[in-house]
Every structure is written in structure tokens, then in C-alpha cells.
Symmetry: C2
Subunit: 337 residues, 2 copies
DNA sequence: ACTGGCACTCCGTCTGCCAGAGTGCCAACA
DNA sequence: TGTTGGCACTCTGGCAGACGGAGTGCCAGT
């Protein structure tokens, strides 16, 4: 494609993103030194519109980018904008003093919302990407015990369980067996080893062991229990004018966490930044918004995904850079700590 | 105060709440059988306005209630509207199958948002209102351990901690001491007993014991770590027209959880329903909204508070009834389960 | 004490109008 | 052939003015 036409598209996208108003040929040549006259730009714009990259809200208005236009911009025109020093510094220090996993994720989401000025989302690390670190069995009453699963990413999963007739000695024995079978293993390995363990328990543990292991297997496999943390919702108030197309769908998607979790899940192929623009989103509730996401984790493993949701009219280069930077940093932090 | 004037005020409030439009004398006599003519009602309205219960947006418009008007309505005119059968049924069953405390609170907030059609908030049970059920110490690496505190309400608090040179045997011994000192005690009792324990540890435990107990005391005292669950945010989209006065402040308050936690905290005097209308709110961010809250807990103890936030123009009788019903039910559920 | 009537006020809406911004096209030009 | 200046055309957004409707306040009558 013609070099200058791309340049024009880039100019349109950047101008529109910052002004939120249709941009015309005159304003374009004034603000970017394209080296040609408005008339020439008009010809290019007509061509770009013909090809579907831009559109006019109505005859004799300026042009605005289409989803396709943003896509081209992101793919071929957007060099990631380097972060400001203040942002880099903020990212370097925002996790200092985090006391537990919850705290880490809450700080992360707040930071991400602040640097991107969008709604931010951070998924809890999956169980499957982490090792079992400890299994604890606590007696709650004569007939109930609490089962606690601690993973290497710091995530703690708990489940109460009816268990008639247990005493401290048998629980201790059971605990030892469970830990021996699981600690240091990935969740899938641990699940496999628990499945074999169930047949090799001493007779004294058989009764309580089976129920316990069943519950534990359920906890290990429960992808369903994926959770997320949300922040920066008030950033939506900047889009009060686009209430119906931006604010409402995003709020609804945030409430319906399942949709967002799926969407983020699909982005977890690598630690690269994934961008879904408007109609590219598989969920129609979000087809007037864009989602920018990235996996985060150690070099070996992706723990989960984080990202932001906002209007399609979004500063892609900056936002993508911020998402990537935050994802890398929190990934490193979690795999070290 | 004149009986009929109260009746007029009640009619104005109910009409305005359902129509969201200033209500005039003619419409009033048409929709409520007050037994008098519009002219008479006008006189009453003039008096009510004089006394500050209602106001007109501009000359020759209908009247709308003031905060003071709503307050009178709530105090003297609002009989709690009984819940519909469907709502009662929903409340009876929504907690069935909850697997842990998180789950209980999430279900609660969703239910409350659904029946009130407002933004709902549920505070996590305070540590101070619950007993310590178990303390666990888990070795994470050679120099780090994880401290876990489990309370009778099912809340789990965790904290990682640097602890050089520990081995499984000393940890087990420490664990036994910690549990002996705390289990079955309220958090304040437990804190007191831990404080004395720290001076009576065997020499072998002194080094690791002090650091551990210090952290544990911090966990027990951390009112700061009060958390909450939010739901029903998309209900705000019904107030798109009042974006600045309703949507924006509420979103901001939700992000600033501290403010809401304080506000709810002040409501936790008993299990009665507390209503704060508009300017009655001590936090200026929320002075154009109303907060309806109630403590929840066992007969003996208030665990925490739950409630809803919405525009001052709100159906107080229904909302108050729903909040009360949900609070009672979840309180009972948690003290039994 | 209540009511019907009446004059008055103010809002919201609709209309028509105008300036501004932007386009598309065409003819001229390098 | 690609670029440019010029020009006629179109559409929006804002503004002024007119008007109907809803509602009030007040007064005189019952």
C-alpha cells in the first residue's frame, strides 16, 4: 500500500484518539507535515474510505477510523511508545511492601489502571500453572474439617467438608500422606498422584481419606474458580458522552466476570500483548470496545492474564506498552517472591 | 404536623421515585385519592416547601422531595414493604451450595443487587467479631514461611514472613504453642494471650517465635485489612441521565473502598437498618446519593455490614426491607455454618 | 377551610436561519 | 500521472424566536 496513505491513516488515528472528533484534511496537513496539500490528502482519504479503513459519520464531516483502520494501525504503524520515566519508576516500586498474593494483584490492577487511564483487569494465577506447596487439614467441629491448598504463586484455596468421626491423630496422618503425594508437584501431577494414593491408603484412613481426596481433586481441577481483580472503573467516567457504547457494556462485562475471564483466557498463548479491537471481540457485549491483554508469568510458565478494557478510540501504542511492562514486572515478581 | 400534609408528602415521594419527574398538584390528586382538590393540595405543597421538605427545580414546575423530605418519609411514613414471594424464595435458597466464605459473600452481594436493583456492598466479617479457629505455619523455602489464620466465620488471612533457619520440628512446636494460645479465643483475647506467650517461649523457639508472633498480632489487629465485595454495578446504567450526580460519585466511592468501609462501619451499631440520605452522608463524594446498610451477624455478635448505594431518589421501603431480609438471612447462615 | 377560576411563569420543543467545516470534483499544472 | 487550487455543495451545531403545556400563586366565592 501507498506509503503516504499509511501516513495519512496514522495521522487520522492519532488525531482522532486525542481529540475524539472527526478529523478533516485541512487540520491534518496543519498538524502533521505531510508535505502535500489538503486536496491531495482528500484523495487519499477517499481511497482509504473506499478500502474500509476510515469512515465519515455523515457527508461533509471529517473521517474517523474504523475497526479495520485501528487494526492496520496497530499491526503496521504503531511503534510501542516508550514509557515515561515516572511510569517506569512507578512500575518498579509499586509492589514493594506487598504482603500477600491478594495484595500483589490489587496493587497491580491499581497501577495498571493508573498508567493506562482505563479499566484494568488482573486474573488470579491459575492453579494449573503452579506447584502445590502445602495441603492443610483443619478440624472445624466434630463433623467438619477445612481443607486448605496453598500453591507456589501464593494462591490459597479453601473448602469446608463434612467428615464424621475424625480425630487429630488420623488427621495428622492423612495430612502427611496428602502432602507427601502433592507437594512440589504441578496441579495435574498432584491430581494424578492423589488418584493413585486413594487406593493405597491404610485402612484406618480409608473412610475419611476418600472424601478428602475427592474434594481436593475438585479443588485442583476447578478451572471454574478462576477469579479476577478489577480496578480503575472510575476512568469510565471520562466517557460519559459515550455512555451506551462504552460505559454500559464495560460495566456489564465486569459484572459478568465469566465473559471477561474467557476473553482473557484466549489471550494467554504467550507473554505477547494481544489486542482485540471492537468487532474482533468474540463477545458481542464488547464489540464497541477494545481489549488489550498480556499473559504474565515466569520464563517457563504463564500464570494468567492481565489487561485493560476501553473504547476502541484508545491510545494503542501507550496502552500496549504499559500492559506489557506491567505484565513483565509482575510476572518476574511473582516467580521470584 | 397536619395529617393530610404528611399524606401529600408521601404521595409526592412515591410518585417522584417511580417517575423521576417533578410531580404537580393535578397529577397527585388523580393518582391518589386524597379527597381534596388540586388547589388545596397546592396550599399544602406551599407549606411543605416553606418547611423545607420539598422544592421546585424552577418556578412553575412540579415539586421534588428534598433530603429532609425523604428523611421524614423514611422516619414516619415508610412502612417497610413486605417482600414478594419470589424474593423471599430467592433469599431462602441463594446460599445453598456455597462452598466457602468468599462464595457466600459473592452470592450475597449478587442477590442483594438483584432484589434491590442497586449497587450492593458486603463487608467481610471482621476479625474482631470472630474466634480464632486455627493457626498454621507452613515453610515456603529455607528462609520464608507462610502464616495462616483461620477464623470461625471462615475468613482466612495469610502473610508471608522471612524466617531464617527454621526446620519442620521447631515449626511444629511453634505451631502447637500458637494454637494453644489462640484457638477458641476472640481476636482481642488471642492477641492478649499471644503477647504474654512471647515472653514464655522455650529458648529454642525464641528467635523464630518473636517474629512470628509479631506478624500474627499485626494480622489480628489489622482493621485496615477490612475488605468488601461489590456487585450490581451495571444497575447504575439506569441512571445514565444523572451521570454526574449518581454514576460518577458511586463509581469513585467504590474504587476508594476506604470511604465506603468507613461509612458502613458507622452503620454497625446493631442489626437495624441504617439509612443515610444525601447530605446526611459524612463523605461529600456521596452527598448526592443514599446509603442503606445493616449489620449482619449472629444473635450475639455483629460480623460486619452490608448494604446498597444509590440515588437519593430510591424506593426506600422496598430497599430497606430487602437489605434487612438479606442481612438477617446471611447472618443466620454464617453463624450456623 | 376548601374550591374553582384566572393570570402568570417557565420549560421544552420546534422551527428557521446562518456560519463553519469539510467534502468531491474539475480543470490546470509540473 | 500525480498534485494542486478553486469552487460549488452538503451537512452539522448553535442560536434566536415562537408556542403549547404544565404548573403555580392568588383571590374571590362557597
Amino acid at each position: 500500500m501507498d506509503e503516504r496513505k499509511l501516513e495519512v491513516l496514522r495521522a487520522i488515528v492519532t488525531d482522532y484518539v486525542s481529540s475524539q472528533e472527526p478529523v478533516g484534511s485541512r487540520a491534518l496537513v496543519e498538524r502533521h507535515d505531510l508535505g502535500v496539500s489538503p486536496a491531495t490528502v482528500r484523495n487519499d482519504m477517499a481511497a482509504l474510505e473506499e478500502e474500509g479503513y476510515i469512515t465519515q459519520p455523515h457527508t461533509s464531516a471529517g473521517r474517523i477510523p474504523t475497526d479495520k483502520g485501528y487494526r492496520l494501525f496497530v499491526d503496521r504503524l504503531g511503534s510501542l511508545k516508550p514509557l515515561s520515566l515516572a511510569e517506569q519508576k512507578a512500575i518498579q516500586t509499586f509492589l514493594a511492601g506487598a504482603v500477600d498474593l491478594d495484595d500483589v494483584l490489587h496493587r497491580t490492577v491499581r497501577l495498571l489502571a493508573q498508567v493506562t487511564q482505563q479499566v484494568a483487569i488482573v486474573q488470579y494465577p491459575t492453579l494449573s500453572s503452579s506447584m502445590v506447596r502445602h495441603v492443610e487439614v483443619v478440624s472445624l467441629s466434630t463433623s467438619r474439617v477445612l481443607l486448605i491448598l496453598i500453591t507456589s504463586t501464593g494462591r490459597i484455596e479453601q473448602r469446608a467438608l463434612e467428615l464424621a468421626d475424625h480425630d487429630e491423630a488420623t488427621l495428622a496422618e492423612l495430612r502427611a500422606h496428602l502432602n507427601a503425594a502433592t507437594v512440589g508437584n504441578s496441579s495435574s501431577q498432584a491430581a494424578a498422584r492423589l488418584s493413585t494414593l486413594v487406593d493405597h491408603l491404610p485402612a484406618s484412613l480409608e473412610a475419611i481419606g476418600q472424601a478428602t481426596i475427592a474434594t481436593l481433586l475438585e479443588m485442583l481441577s476447578s478451572e471454574a474458580s478462576r477469579r479476577m481483580v478489577v480496578g480503575g472503573v472510575p476512568n469510565l467516567t471520562r466517557y460519559g458522552a459515550e455512555f451506551e457504547t462504552t460505559v454500559k457494556p464495560v460495566l456489564e462485562a465486569l459484572e459478568e466476570q465469566v465473559v471477561l475471564l474467557k476473553l482473557l483466557g484466549e489471550a494467554t498463548t504467550a507473554d505477547a500483548v494481544t489486542v482485540r479491537i471492537g468487532q474482533e471481540n468474540p463477545y458481542k457485549e464488547l464489540q464497541s470496545t477494545s481489549v488489550i491483554a498480556s499473559g504474565y508469568g515466569s520464563q517457563i510458565d504463564i500464570f494468567a492474564t492481565l489487561g485493560v478494557v476501553g473504547p476502541t478510540r484508545m491510545d494503542y501504542p501507550s496502552t500496549m506498552a504499559s500492559v506489557r511492562a506491567v505484565a513483565r514486572y509482575v510476572g518476574r515478581f511473582l516467580s521470584e517472591g
